[in-house]
């Protein structure tokens, strides 16, 4: 059975890009347009991997990431962050969130800065999925 990969991004073009890469490489893609919708799908579908954007309306990728990484049942699902935000900025923001009383969270398995080539995304997914 194909492994399920959830793509969480508010930009339909980026979702289409990731979904195409996933389908071409034999995965079963699922889609969500924001963190709130994404978290519901994570709980319902238990995907094998998540490709997550950071900046999204309604609920950011930061919140979804932090909720997942502090939830016993969800923390082991690997996450590839695919964002226009620089990695160092994201990591600094996470450190600040912890400073402001949040639970510490590990760094994401992989952090890719947009734009990314389809080959690089496919290769990264394969690597993370083992």
């Amino acid at each position: 059975m194909s492994k399920k990969v959830l793509v969480v991004d508010d930009d339909p073009d980026v979702r289409l890009f990731s979904v195409t890469v996933l389908e071409e490489n034999g995965y079963l893609p699922l889609e969500a347009a924001n963190g709130e919708e994404g978290l519901k799908m994570v709980k319902a579908e238990k995907p094998d991997l998540i490709i997550l954007d950071v900046l999204m309306p309604r609920q950011s990728g930061i919140r979804l990431y932090r909720e997942m990484k502090t939830d016993k049942a969800l923390k082991d699902i690997p996450i590839i962050i695919l964002s226009g935000i620089a990695k160092k900025t994201f990591l600094r923001s996470q450190k600040a969130m912890t400073e402001f009383g949040g639970k510490p969270v590990p760094e994401p398995e992989v952090y890719l800065e947009k734009p990314v080539e389809p080959e690089e995304l496919a290769e990264t997914i394969k690597k993370v999925m083992g």
């Binding site: 950071v54 950011s60 620089a86 160092k88 994201f90 600040a96 400073e99």
Partner: protein, 203 residues
């Protein structure tokens, strides 16, 4: 590529000083721009963000969080396409300040930036303090307010500052150890303060 954060007791001249320092170095000045960016990310109006910020930890946010569903809020605020509450505000605030700082050459006004950028290698953190009476006087002189109105504004902003930092779980925001320099604006004018900050950054 320096980043200068200015925290202040409201009415100490922080915005005026921040603009002076930014102009001297040719840096950008980030104050209301931060709110605009939060609004842009959350897809809501700047007014909505300002309300959440002003009421951080207060009645408005508690109502939203505890009693009212998002869909009801959406109906009440039907002109808003997105949504924001304290948690979302904080997510974006932290990210935006981190991003503005990483872009560099900027003076950032408050909003917890001294904590967010605590270990930023290029950041200088400044705190301005002054007596309540002097801060009221500053507002009267620089913002054309009556004395009574200025007192109300300073008190309201002190409360807003307290609430915001409470939301961030911080009460030590006036602790000098957080800052590179603490300027007592009771003892110097804005030009002297600007010179001190500039020479610190240039050295």
């Amino acid at each position: 590529m320096a980043v200068i954060t200015i925290s202040r007791q409201f009415g100490s001249g922080g915005i005026t000083l921040g603009k002076m320092v930014a102009e001297k170095f040719g840096y950008s000045f980030a104050d209301t721009e931060v709110i605009s960016k939060v609004a842009e990310m959350a897809n809501v109006s700047t007014h909505f963000v300002e309300t959440v910020e002003k009421e951080a930890g207060g009645k408005f946010s508690k109502i939203i969080k505890n009693m009212v569903s998002k869909s009801l809020v959406d109906r009440i605020l039907k002109d808003e396409r997105g949504y924001i509450d304290e948690e979302i505000y904080l997510d974006y605030l932290v990210l935006i300040i981190a991003q503005i700082a990483d872009d560099g050459d900027v003076v950032i006004m408050g909003r917890g930036s001294q904590y967010i950028l605590d270990d930023h290698p290029d950041a200088y953190h400044v705190l301005l303090i002054n007596e309540f009476e002097n801060r009221v006087k500053f507002m009267v002189e620089h913002y054309d307010l009556s004395s009574k109105r200025a007192q109300q504004v300073v008190r309201a902003e002190d409360k807003r500052r307290l609430n915001l930092y409470r939301k961030l779980g911080k009460i030590d925001y006036d602790d000098p150890h957080l800052y590179h320099i603490v300027l007592n604006m009771n003892k110097m004018d804005l030009h002297k303060a600007s010179k001190l900050i500039c020479s610190m950054v240039e050295s």
